[in-house]
């Protein structure tokens, strides 16, 4: 039985895992960097330890330090969350050698799936359809050019160690290939310490649909249906939902079966996600497997009633899965919006600063997983995701209307966020009718930057903003002519205050 878990992460996911620990009576332990001294994840756990400098390499990515800490404090397990060390097979191997339970799959499975070219080979051998392309990294420019022309442009370059859009390039013209290979390799080397880049055919206007699976250490495999994560900008997911609005029963049966086969192909246990691309003709291809908990796991929890983190912990300590496939039903519809600290109209530039005011939405069908609170510092060191708002309804329409309502209740000051832009997405006909694909935002939204997208919204408050501006200015002018900059940490619009 696991008694004490070191949560080797930060932000909302560390908070999320701590909640499961608390409910299970397990001691939760936080670690934090210099920048995270006052962060929310430190405040909600049973114990907290300083681990190192703000730069992730010296704190959340320093596996040796983390394992040493786990031993010192007698933690019997490490939960990696997502990102950081979660898919680092060397780190998992070190946990295994140190007899610390890693709450996730074996280092072997992660190694197989973490290398995208190996994963493609395994899937191909197990009859899981893969996107046409290479199952090996690019060896020379001549080879790359030959293969690209063979499978036909456009193609994608992808980092074999990749994820999150890093080291990824779309090639439309063969002249661009050489330059793109070196910049993709460069980015991949920096992000992952591995510059292997491979070629995939570019699937036109696909949907991104992924299947959640759970497997125990005794050979039992189940799936928890799918999520549609096609609302992305530049390969960064923004809105996710479950179930996929356009998937037919027949295709659901096929893709979930393929997902379970994919998990079996790498002797998988714990929670995992198999990502697929669906083309416009309803063929689907294996994209990659994420060998960890996903950011968007709450939508699956909402539509199945399963607490995935608790299942992860139970599987890790060797329990047999108690959920049977036939017991699982889709009980409603759920949507997640990722709240980022970013200035949408400045080309999504990350926004840094201190949170000065924070009030979360609540009420029927609303869940917020959040990693920040008043006075949290949003720094350049980590991912700019602040929180996830998840709404659940008896059907998609209800989930959407709840989301629009909930986002209207979300109040935050101190950083610029993308909250307003969801009003555009959630009200767009392509979103409401479900016909959107992965390129929806890049095609429809990006051209409306900066600011033009606001004109497409039914604006209910512009007159209120105008009135408040004038009243505040009038009030200021009656007292003294003075400047107020309330948030000295905020770099946003710094040039205006010189």
């Amino acid at each position: 039985m696991i008694k004490k878990i070191l949560i080797a992460n930060r932000g909302e996911i560390a908070v999320r895992v701590a909640k499961a620990c608390r409910e299970m009576g397990i001691i939760s332990v936080a670690l934090y960097s210099d920048a995270d001294r006052n962060s929310l994840h430190v405040r909600v756990m049973d114990e907290a330890y300083h681990i190192g400098a703000s730069v992730a390499a010296e704190s959340y990515l320093d596996g040796d330090k983390i394992i040493a800490l786990a031993k010192k404090i007698s933690a019997d397990a490490i939960h990696p969350g997502y990102g950081f060390l979660s898919e680092n097979s060397n780190f998992i191997k070190k946990c295994e050698d140190a007899k610390i339970i890693f709450i996730g799959p074996s280092s072997k499975s992660v190694k197989m799936m973490g290398d995208k070219t190996t994963a493609r080979t395994i899937m191909k051998n197990h009859n899981v359809p893969i996107v046409p392309g290479t199952t090996e990294g690019i060896k020379s420019y001549e080879d790359a050019e030959k293969i690209s022309l063979e499978i036909g442009l456009p193609i994608m370059l992808k980092a074999s160690a990749g994820g999150g859009g890093k080291g990824m390039r779309r090639i439309d013209k063969i002249e661009d290939l050489q330059k793109a290979i070196s910049s993709a390799q460069n980015e991949a080397r920096k992000a992952f310490g591995n510059d292997t880049v491979y070629i995939e055919k570019f699937v036109e206007n696909p949907k991104h649909i992924e299947v959640q699976i759970l497997a125990d250490k005794h050979g039992n495999y189940i799936h928890l249906f799918e999520r549609d994560c096609s609302i992305q900008r530049r390969h960064q997911k923004v809105v996710e939902e479950a179930p996929a609005p356009t998937l037919t029963k027949e295709l659901r049966a096929k893709v979930t079966e393929a997902a379970v086969n994919a998990a079996k192909a790498c002797d998988y246990y714990n929670a995992g996600t198999i990502e697929f691309l669906f083309d416009q003709k309803e063929s689907f291809y294996f994209l990659e497997m994420n060998t960890r908990l996903q950011v968007e796991h709450p939508v699956t929890e909402a539509i199945t009633g399963v607490d995935l983190v608790k299942e992860q912990i139970k599987i890790a300590q060797g329990d047999v899965l108690t959920i049977k496939q036939e017991d699982l039903k889709i009980i409603g519809h759920a949507i997640e919006c990722r709240i980022y600290a970013e200035d949408v109209d400045s080309n999504f530039a990350p926004s840094t600063g201190k949170i000065l005011h924070h009030s979360l939405p609540s009420g029927p069908g609303v869940r917020v997983d959040c990693g920040i609170d008043i006075l949290s510092n949003i720094s350049v060191y980590y991912d700019p995701m602040l929180a996830k708002v998840i709404t659940f309804g008896k059907n998609r329409e209800e989930a959407i209307s709840r989301m629009i309502r909930a986002l209207g209740e979300y109040q935050i000051a101190g950083v610029t966020t993308n909250i307003h832009s969801f009003q555009w997405i959630l009200n767009h006909p392509e979103f409401t009718n479900g016909s959107f694909d992965n390129n929806f935002l890049d095609r429809e939204f990006i051209p409306l930057l900066p600011g033009k997208w606001k004109k497409e919204l039914d604006d209910k408050y512009e007159h209120v903003a105008a009135i408040l501006s004038a009243l505040l200015k009038n009030k200021d002018s009656k007292t003294t002519a003075f400047k107020r900059e309330l948030n000295h940490d905020n770099q946003w619009g710094k040039e205006n205050y010189d």
Partner: protein, 166 residues
């Protein structure tokens, strides 16, 4: 009584404060009541509806508000300030220099141009790395690079001036 001009999303609103509780906006009259909840939050009653508004940025002219999930960047000027501003803008256009500022905090990976080089609008001039992604900063004007105020491998804040095109 002062007249204010409020600019929001390229719209200009003319606003007159008639008394403590009444204003005229674009020729319509409204009853208003304002109370401050905290440094960052106001309640504004407009006729019969109360709005809770999150505020953040003030410098006597520019404001940022969030109302019901909508964000607004507003600029408010007295009619006199508005005229002065138009004059200054026209003058800047005649001078014709453009300062390229960093759109985000990050690290300068590469500067692709040198002082004296010709650049065209849209041409990449600097590679900036932020959150492990490389971003191209492009020229927002056509001209000659007059000065460069940053160097490779230095970190920059958002809004920091990087170079000047003239």
């Amino acid at each position: 009584m002062t007249d204010y001009i409020v600019s929001i999303n390229d719209n200009k609103h003319l606003l007159k404060i008639l008394s403590n509780n009444s204003i005229e906006l674009n020729d319509d009259n409204y009853e208003v009541e304002l109370s401050q909840l905290s440094n960052f939050s106001y309640l504004l009653k407009v006729n019969n509806r109360v709005y809770q508004i999150t505020t953040e940025k003030f410098d006597g002219q520019n404001y940022t508000f969030t109302i019901g999930g909508f964000s607004y960047n507003t600029t408010v000027r007295t009619s006199l300030e508005e005229k002065a501003n138009e004059y200054l803008q026209n003058k800047a256009k005649e001078n014709g220099t453009e300062i390229i500022k960093s759109p985000m905090p990050g690290l300068i990976v590469k500067i692709l141009k040198q002082v004296g080089d010709n650049v065209k609008t849209g041409e990449p001039i600097i590679l900036l790395e932020a959150m492990k992604m490389e971003n191209e900063i492009r020229a927002s004007a056509t001209g000659i690079i007059k000065s460069i105020s940053t160097k490779e491998n230095s970190s920059v804040e958002k809004g920091e001036a990087l170079l000047e095109i003239g």
